[in-house]
Amino acid sequence: MEQPKPHQIPDKDGRVVRDPPWIFRTYAGHSSAKASNELYRANLSKGQTGLSIAFDLPTQCGYDSDDSIARPEVGKVGVPINSLDDFHALFDSIPLEKMNTSMTINGTAMWMLALYVALARERGIDTKLLNGTTQNDLIKEYLARGTYIFPPDASLRIIAEMYEFCLDEMPSWNASNICSYHLQEAAATPTQELAFALVNAIGLLDLLKERGRFSDENFERAVGRISFFVNAGIRFIEEMCKMRAFSELWEEITRDRYGVKNKKYRLFRYGVQVNSLGLTESQPENNAWRILIEALGVTLSRNARCRALQLPAWNEALSLPRPWDQQWSLRLQQILAYETDLLEYPDLFDGNPAIRSKVDDLKRAATKEIDTILAMGGVKAAIESGYMKSALVRSMSARMRGINTAEQIVVGMNKWTEGIPSPLLSGADGGIFKVDPSATRGALGSLERTRKNRDADRAKRAIDALQAAARDGSSMMEPSIECALARVTTGEWARALRGVFGEYRPATGVDGQKLGLENDRVEMLRRRIDALVDKLGHRPRLVVGKPGLDGHSNGAEVIAVSARHVGFDVIYSGIRLSPDEIVLSAVEENADVIGASVLSGSHMELADQIMAGLKAHGAEKRVALVFGGIIPPTDFEGLYAKGVKKIFTPSDFGLVEIMEAITDIIEETASS
């Protein structure tokens, strides 16, 4: 047999082999459990190798589909799950024991895990065979994503209890994923991503140690269960270096801080979804190239290659992807893994001095930041004091400033903006996905049936036992599984624990933003607004609201700060507001404009609800409604017909222009 050469990969017997590919996933789910099941089975037949379940916002925030705050969001960004009956439908004809199932679930992660275990038990499958991940990283929910429910202490306890449960009952399950993905979506720098994710992992391991439920040997195994979910942006060389830095730093932390002896448990295991923040609404076809380049950053280097990869779709800045868009992204992964020779080589970058130096730089900066946070009391303290949030908000404003001034080039958005219209957008559906409004009826029907058919006493006893465990500090995992088996609903599970732990309301990230908006246009706008003060008798007032359950608040916060910057009085009340609350704010504050930020695709329903609320107060003529967010142009006419005055989308990135447009509206109303 020939000796393998340095450019070849030997297996343990010295034979030349090709690496197996990473797991191919597509983040998917919508409308109802039944519709999503059909989608999953279709994707698996196309060569997808793992499931990545997207839940709708009510499920993520712990509300039943028929709750009034949930209604407009049911089935929009993912599948609604109300009870174990929905899980039976979701995984119908899918062999759990052979699946690697990743669930993007956080505030209700323990509940979804309990449902998965209960499903396995009812199907007679050994839970030790279950493979997969519950995302379950509440730190990044507080910082960036927004689907938290409980305060930090309760959330961290839930995460710890899930690790304690999984270690023996589901040894191949990742009880949580430490996420830096969402931090980059909130504009974190590579250093911030490294530092915040690692300090988050340290906080979790310190907590597991402090709780003392693990022997030393089991603690070491638990360290081995920590996995990460990372982002990859367009600066793909730096991103690859970031991944190498992650691996090295994790190796050092697990060895030096926790004394983990077994090398296997010190491996940095991670999955990736590549960056969506940098995807553009203008010339959206360019995003296909961006996605390809970003995928290279996490696959090129064998020593820092991801375990699983999810790619967004080219049209993500316009709407949720259609099945064809997802297939196109999956094909990219298949070509990269099977057509190219990528998987035939050992690491291509070991020993490269440029890469080594860049990795060292990132490690140094990240270590410094980690030390800073540990010195202030660790990740929980840095969340509660707002330190991490305001750092991210500053990064976001720096990014916006870069794009506004075209210092940071974004092709097709602030440079080379003229182009031939994309034929991809000219199909009958305009190149975007629409949820069939009748599809969510299935979710409501199944919820009603579950409530009617269950043993009401058993359900009540299960909820009481869950609350008792929450109060006395014992594990809530088994009581949650009993709740699942007793057909308790998602809303009931979350309400029971809200009753014990309360609900978290964080500081908004509006402090400390610098927008770099100092020029003649701003001065001119300020004079126009001063003139309005005389005309209206008050300084123009703007209510900035995020109706519904979607928690991506950065856009709304940048708008709130910009509006104050040009001279508005701004009422901003954070996320997760019902349309009624926003209307009441506008009425009691006598606002001139409501600016509603919607990224969940529920803009039509929310426009209806807000307009109806304004009419009920007789304020529909006095208060102008504008929308901002991910809204497809095909919906513009419909929104204008409902009375919306102006719509801003990601292509309206000029903050001064947005403020001018809002001022135009107020001036028009004032003179009519």
């Binding site: 300020r526 008798g537 009085d569 701004v570 009441l584």
Partner: protein
């Protein structure tokens, strides 16, 4: 500019008194309006409200304290508790936040802390920008309180406590509460804060924190040093918005005050505010004219027939006086 017909404002008052929120909101805006022509409309509205049988005479409670002392969280527990303790009580809240000295704009973000389980028609919440650099009270806070006290049983005015707002609020509120959080250091810090002389009562919030008991005693001792000549003892309430401790007791004590007849004379207050308004608009000459020629603010307002009439007439009086002087 066209004047809306006067009948509208009377109608607005009637709708506001039947708890129609958008009407209350518009009335508040009328009292925030700093254009000269708004004074006449205010006089009409106030006259209408006084004729109306449902007209109230609320107690105004000032809540002040440094940022971070937990005023908003405290109010968010206290207000629902008071509404529950007294099933007919109506409460208005005016929350003042600082304006940017550069753009004049402000971020007003306290509302959602006051979230109720369901829509509560007995509660009205309004934010206001301070319009000043220091984060004290807005010049229109006083004006708004004149109307709000006619529409509710109890009005809270919440200010950001930096600098002079504690002193300002005494000119608006019938009773002023200073919210403090437990301090780590010694009693000198309470004294250094320089705000001990102002409030009628103290609320030591976050009393679930370990240092709270020590802080309570230090505060008690500091009070002796800072206010040696106080007649009675100044009350110190201990609360925790987090655990709910002391909230019901404080609520009961406030309700007792709301239902009592001990109120300050609004005319005295109006006189102080009027003096300040004259100084802002006409400078030292205006102030001297008010004091020397018109025999002081209080006297002038009585003669002119109230605050709004006083504001309407004053520009003419002052103009006449100075043009005569110039002609001489």
């Amino acid at each position: 500019m066209s004047q809306p017909p006067v009948i509208n404002d009377v109608d607005l008052v009637h709708r506001a008194l039947s708890r129609e929120r958008s009407a209350i909101s518009e009335l508040v805006s009328l009292f925030e309006d700093r254009r000269p022509q708004a004074a006449a409309r205010r006089a009409t509205a106030l006259a209408a409200v006084e004729r109306h049988p449902k007209n109230r005479s609320a107690v105004v409670l000032g809540i002040t304290g440094t940022p971070g002392s937990g005023k908003s969280s405290l109010l968010s527990c206290l207000v629902p508790t008071m509404l529950e303790l007294h099933p007919e009580l109506t409460i208005g809240i005016l929350a003042v936040d600082p304006s940017s000295p550069i753009s004049g704009g402000a971020l007003l973000g306290d509302r959602t802390r006051m979230r109720m389980e369901r829509d509560e028609p007995r509660l009205f919440f309004r934010s206001q920008a301070s319009d000043t650099q220091l984060g004290g009270l807005s010049p229109s806070s006083f004006q708004v309180c004149r109307m709000m006290r006619r529409l509710f049983d109890c009005v809270f005015v919440e200010t950001v406590g930096i600098g002079q707002s504690e002193a300002d609020i005494r000119n608006i509120a019938d009773r002023t509460y200073l919210v403090l959080q437990p301090l780590g250091g010694d009693e000198v810090q309470f004294l250094k804060a320089g705000i001990m002389e102002i409030p009628d009562a103290f609320i030591l919030n976050k009393c679930d924190e370990p240092s709270a008991e020590r802080s309570f005693h230090q505060l008690y001792q500091s009070l002796w040093l800072a206010r040696p000549f106080d007649g009675g003892e100044v009350p110190i309430h201990k609360t925790s918005a987090r655990t709910g401790a002391g909230i019901e007791e404080l609520g009961k004590s406030l309700l007792e005050f709301v239902q009592s007849d001990v109120k300050r004379d609004p005319r005295k207050r109006e006189a102080v505010i009027f003096e300040r308004w004259v100084r802002e608009e006409w400078g030292r000459n205006g102030s001297r004219f008010l004091a020397d020629v018109l025999d002081g603010s209080r006297n002038y307002l009585e003669m002119a027939g109230g605050f709004d009439r006083g504001q309407q007439d004053f520009p003419g009086r002052v103009g006449e006086h100075f043009s005569k002087k110039a002609g001489r």
